[in-house]
Amino acid sequence: MLVGLLKAEPGVEVVAVASGAREARELIIPGGVDVALLDVELGDGNGVGLGVSLRARDPKLGIVLLSSHDVMTLLLDLPVGMSAGWSYLSKTSSTTMATLMHALRESAAGGTVLDPGLVDRARPRAGSAIAGLSARQYQVVQLVAKGLTNAAIAERLEISPRSVENHLNSVYGALDLEPNGERNPRVATVLQFIEESSRV
């Protein structure tokens, strides 16, 4: 059913449909696919392990994980340099086609998208750096975690894109994530958001 919906989306070509990890590895050719939508629960393995092996073969492949359980903490242990382009959406009725499409497009472009409902329900953990951010800074971090671009964040918060950049830079400072070419600070911010929040 999902495949049908995806095929009907403009700008989407469903290259392959696999019923398990082994079949996925056979059907997904490095360079031939922009983004892979993986269920975390697979009959012959799991979506995280599969995603890691697919990414090892194709560093440009976007990965969107689907699960009925909150598994975003699994992004924390991904090999260094592999953390960009991974997204997670909850497999519940609150995930709409629009949310899914957004996640697929962003991940294909190397961005990170977390389930918006879970991001909203997250609470900063006591004693963490995220808990030390100002209300506005935290708002910006939440929107970055949902995969919004700076322009989209500016629109949502009704501030200028310049302000968004300033907020983000101050967040990077507060989290000790200066842009130094090695690590993508945007992705690192989202990972720290995951690590330092409580999500019941």
Partner: protein, 371 residues
């Protein structure tokens, strides 16, 4: 078979011979002639050895055929007659008796047949007893193997059922409770809008409590039951299950979870190298440590660290709670210790905690899958 035949042969073929030789010499009046006596004994033993050879040859020649029932008797008859047939001419040749002595020849033949029968009979009996013992041992070993396999299958099935029930609780039950809550909200708002004048404070309060109870059942009770049955994310690896466990701590609890590279290689990023029972045990250890820290120790900060060194996985859980004081162990920890010892591991509480409260230190060998 061979051994038994040789034993019987020795008794008759060699043991009896000197007596027979002496008797014959005595009958012939050659009592004092020792060299002749020994020569005679030697000849007789030789004859019997030849006969043994003949009997063995016949047994081996027919051994490829099935030795069962009538076939067996037929074979035995062949061996006996054959042996006797060879003995008689040999005895004549050696001058032990002539063909005139028919009685003596007949008696000798019967004696040979009986002794060879005894020899082979003993051999077969020995073989059959040995076979019976071997079969009994094999049956016992097979039964033990079957029992172990059945136990294994049962344990796997139990975990599968637990997981299914846990998923059912997480999905269906939670969903139903959530919908129920929404229905109450809607009905309450609707009733309030229509009957403002007649709604009492008690009515409203009761509804609020019902709503709160429902939420509590959904978010705490059902979730706890589910986790008790089967830890969330267990099939994704120990790191996943533990991270997800720590994530669900209330925001008021400061926490940190660190896993060294070896642990991540083993059980992180979707890897599941450890056996399911070991993985489950590791998660149960942290669950127990967490429960003790929050419930008994009133901790507000916890830290978890997993490392692997020389094939031993170590779990260190610190909290900033009251500390253990005089308590050396709890029943939960004791139970975990029992389980861990089955794997060659152990668990202990100590007051030397990095956060000032209690430390739970557990170790479990994982050397068969880790460096």
């Amino acid at each position: 078979m061979l051994t038994t035949m040789l034993v019987v042969f020795s008794v008759y073929g060699v043991g009896v011979v000197p007596q027979v030789a002496a008797q014959t010499a005595h009958a012939d009046g050659r009592d004092g002639d020792l060299p002749a006596l020994f020569a005679d004994i030697g000849m007789r033993v030789l004859v019997n050895l030849v006969l043994l050879g003949v009997a063995l040859a016949i047994v081996f020649a027919t051994s490829s055929l099935e030795h069962r029932g009538r076939r067996l008797i037929f074979d035995l008859a062949i061996v006996c007659v054959g042996t006797a047939a060879v003995r008689a001419p040999l005895q004549v040749l050696l001058g032990h008796y002539t063909f005139d002595d028919t009685t003596k020849v007949l008696v000798e033949t019967y004696t040979v047949i009986l002794s060879v029968l005894a020899m082979i009979g003993a051999g077969f009996l020995h073989v059959s007893v040995r076979r019976r013992v071997r079969e009994h041992e094999r049956a016992s070993a097979q039964q033990a193997l079957r029992a172990a396999a059945a136990l294994d299958a049962l344990a796997t099935e139990e975990l599968r059922v637990r997981r299914d029930v846990a998923e059912g609780l997480h999905g269906t039950v939670q969903q139903s409770l959530m919908l129920l809550g929404m229905r109450i909200d809607f009905r309450a708002a609707d009733v309030l809008a229509r009957n403002k004048a007649h709604i009492t404070e008690v009515d409203l309060q009761d509804l609020v409590e019902i709503r709160a109870d429902l939420d509590r059942i959904r978010e705490i009770d059902v979730r706890t039951m589910s986790q008790m049955l089967y830890p969330v994310g267990l099939e994704l690896g120990a790191v996943a299950a533990l991270r997800m466990l720590m994530q669900r701590l209330p925001a008021t609890i400061a926490s940190s979870a660190t896993f060294d590279d070896a642990v991540i290689a083993l059980e992180g990023n979707g890897s599941t190298t450890l056996t399911l029972d070991r993985r489950l045990l590791i998660v149960r250890i942290v669950e127990e440590a967490l429960t003790n820290a929050l419930r008994h120790g009133r901790a507000s900060s916890v830290a978890l660290a997993l490392t692997i060194d020389r094939g031993i996985l170590t779990v260190v859980f610190d909290d900033d709670g009251f500390g253990i004081g005089a308590v050396i162990t709890t029943s939960g920890i004791a139970r975990l210790d029992e389980r861990l010892r089955e794997f060659g591991g152990s668990i202990a509480l100590s007051a030397e905690s990095a956060l000032g409260g209690t430390r739970v230190l557990a170790s479990i060998p994982v050397g068969d899958v880790a460096p």
